[in-house]
C-alpha cells in the first residue's frame, strides 16, 4: 500500500501538569479518504489534533504526514501539509478582511504575490465566499465565517484537511452547505466530531477515540449501529435518528442494506 497521508503510531501525551490525555493512539489515513474521529467530550480529540501539525510534541510514539515525521525541524512543511480548521472561526480569522486572512497562510509559505492572489481566489471560490473577499470577518454570519476558516486552510493546499467540530453552532442550512463543500473538495479529510449523523453523511470510515485510545475503527455505519460500543464510550445517536432507516442518496454508498 502507498505511504499513508497520516501515519500515527503509539502516540502518547501527558500535559505538563501530569494529566495524561493520550495513551498510545494508532491511526492511518490514506489519500482521498474522509475519516471521522468520534469520541465523547474529554476523549483527547483536540489534544490529538494538536499533535498532527506539531503544536504539541508527542511524549511517546510518532506522527508522520506523507512520510515526513512531525518534529521541530520539519514544522513549517508539516503545517503546510496539515490544514487544521479550528472550532471557533473567531480564533482563526483575525485579519481585517477575508482576503487578507485567506492570504495569511500562503504568504507565510513565501509564495509570490500573484500566486497568493490566485490561491486566495481559488480557495474562496471553493467555499462559495469569493464575493465577500473584501469584507471584515466580523461582519459575516457564523456559517460564512466557518466557510472562510475552511478557505484559509485550503489556500495552503494541504494534503490533509483536519476539521475540528465543523458542524458545531451551525444552523441546518449552513450545516448542509458546509457538507456540500467538504464533499466537493478533492482532499483527504479527518473530521473530529461528536455529531454522528454528520459523520455518517460525510465519512465512510470512523475511528472512535475514548479515554485517550482508539477503541474502534471501521465503516461509519457499522460503528453507529454497534450499540454496545456506543454505550461504552458515551456516544449517543440524537433522538429520532437511526442509521438503519436513514436513506440518503448523498451518503457515499456506505449504507448497509
Amino acid at each position: 500500500m502507498s505511504v499513508p497521508v497520516l501515519d500515527v503510531q503509539g502516540l502518547a501525551y501527558a500535559y505538563p501538569d501530569g494529566h495524561q490525555a493520550l495513551f498510545g493512539v494508532d491511526l492511518h489515513v490514506h489519500r482521498g479518504e474522509r475519516v471521522a474521529l468520534l469520541g465523547p467530550n474529554g476523549a483527547g480529540k483536540t489534544t490529538f489534533v494538536l499533535h498532527l501539525n506539531g503544536i504539541l510534541t508527542a511524549g511517546a510514539g510518532t506522527v508522520s504526514v506523507s512520510g515526513l515525521a512531525v518534529e521541530k525541524a520539519n514544522v513549517a512543511e508539516i503545517r503546510r501539509r496539515v490544514g487544521v480548521v479550528f472550532q471557533d472561526p473567531d480564533d482563526q480569522l483575525f485579519m481585517g478582511t477575508v482576503r487578507a486572512d485567506v492570504a495569511f497562510g500562503p504568504a507565510n509559505l513565501g509564495l509570490t504575490r500573484a500566486e497568493v492572489d490566485h490561491r486566495v481566489v481559488t480557495a474562496l471560490e471553493a467555499v462559495g465566499m469569493a464575493e465577500h473577499a473584501d469584507r471584515p470577518p466580523h461582519h459575516l454570519s457564523f456559517g460564512q465565517r466557518r466557510r472562510v476558516a475552511v478557505a484559509t486552510v485550503l489556500a495552503m493546499q494541504p494534503e490533509i484537511l483536519v476539521l475540528d467540530e465543523p458542524s458545531s453552532n451551525l444552523d441546518p442550512a449552513s450545516r448542509r452547505e458546509l457538507a456540500d463543500i467538504v464533499r466537493s473538495l478533492d482532499v483527504t479529510v479527518l473530521m473530529v466530531t461528536h455529531d454522528l449523523p454528520y459523520a455518517l453523511e460525510l465519512c465512510p470510515r470512523s475511528v472512535v477515540l475514548s479515554g485517550g485510545a482508539v477503541v474502534a475503527d471501521g465503516a461509519t455505519y457499522d460503528v453507529l449501529v454497534d450499540e454496545e460500543l456506543m454505550r461504552a464510550h458515551r456516544l449517543e445517536l440524537p433522538f429520532g435518528f437511526d442509521p438503519r432507516t436513514t436513506r440518503n442518496p448523498r451518503i457515499d454508498g456506505t449504507l448497509a442494506p
Partner: protein, 222 residues
C-alpha cells in the same frame, strides 16, 4: 450573533476626504493638533481660523454635523475639569454674572476647552472618514513598528468579539436576577471582569495556535 456593521465612529461616504490616502490624513491630523497645541491661548482670532479649517474639512466630507456633535460627548470629563478651573485657580479675580472667578483660571479653562475641542473634532473627522483597516495601513506606511500595527489590528478585530462577550455575560448575570446598583455589587462585577480577562487571554492563545498552524513566524504578510 449580533455583529454590528461598521465601527460606530465611521461614517460611510465617498467624498474627497473619504478617498484621501489614510497616511496623509493621519499626518495632517498630527500636524494640525501640534499647531493647535502650540498656538498661544491669547491669539483668539487664530483659533477661529483653526475651527474654520476643521469645519471646512467636515463640510467637504459630508459627514452630518449632528453625527460629529453627538460623538463629542467623549470630551465631557475635560469640559467639567475646564469649568472647575476658574473657581479653584488662584490670582487676581474678576466678576462674571455676579460670580467671582479667577482670571488665570478663566484663561486656562478657555485654553483647555478650545484646544481639546479642536483636537477631538479633528480626530472625529478622521475617524468618520477612514475605515479602521485603512488607518492601520496608513500607520504601516508611516513606518510605525509592525509589532505596534499588529497589536492595533488585533484590537480592531477583537474589540467587537470581546464587547459582545461582555454583553452576553451581563445578560447572563441579569437573567439570574443580578443588577449592579451599589458598591456592594462591585465584587461581582470585578469577578466578571476577571473572567472576561481570562477568556480573552485564552482566546489570544487559541488565535496564536491557529496562526502557528498556518505557518506564522512573527511577521504579518504585507
Amino acid at each position: 450573533m449580533g455583529a454590528g456593521h461598521g465601527h460606530t465612529l465611521h461614517f460611510h461616504g465617498h467624498s474627497a476626504v473619504h478617498r484621501a490616502p489614510a497616511h496623509l490624513k493621519i499626518l495632517a491630523l498630527l500636524t494640525f493638533v501640534l499647531v493647535v497645541v502650540a498656538t498661544p491661548r491669547e491669539w483668539y482670532p487664530v483659533f477661529a481660523l483653526h475651527l474654520a479649517l476643521v469645519v471646512g474639512v467636515a463640510v467637504v466630507s459630508r459627514v452630518p454635523a449632528v453625527y460629529l456633535l453627538k460623538r463629542m460627548v467623549v470630551e465631557v470629563p475635560f469640559v467639567v475639569f475646564a469649568v472647575l478651573l476658574p473657581f479653584v485657580a488662584h490670582g487676581p479675580r474678576t466678576d462674571v454674572l455676579g460670580l467671582s472667578l479667577s482670571e488665570s483660571g478663566l484663561l486656562g479653562a478657555w485654553g483647555l476647552l478650545v484646544k481639546g475641542t479642536l483636537g477631538v473634532l479633528a480626530s472625529l473627522v478622521l475617524a468618520a472618514t477612514t475605515e479602521p483597516q485603512d488607518l492601520l495601513v496608513g500607520l504601516q506606511r508611516l513606518r510605525l513598528p509592525s509589532q505596534l500595527v499588529q497589536i492595533m489590528g488585533f484590537m480592531v478585530r477583537y474589540l467587537e468579539v470581546v464587547t459582545t462577550e461582555m454583553h452576553r455575560m451581563r445578560i447572563a448575570r441579569e437573567s439570574r436576577g443580578f443588577v449592579a446598583r451599589n458598591p456592594r455589587h462591585w465584587p461581582v462585577l470585578a469577578r466578571s471582569m476577571g473572567a472576561l480577562f481570562i477568556r480573552s487571554y485564552e482566546r489570544g492563545e487559541r488565535v496564536h495556535l491557529a496562526m502557528l498552524s498556518r505557518g506564522y513566524t512573527g511577521e504579518l504578510p504585507r
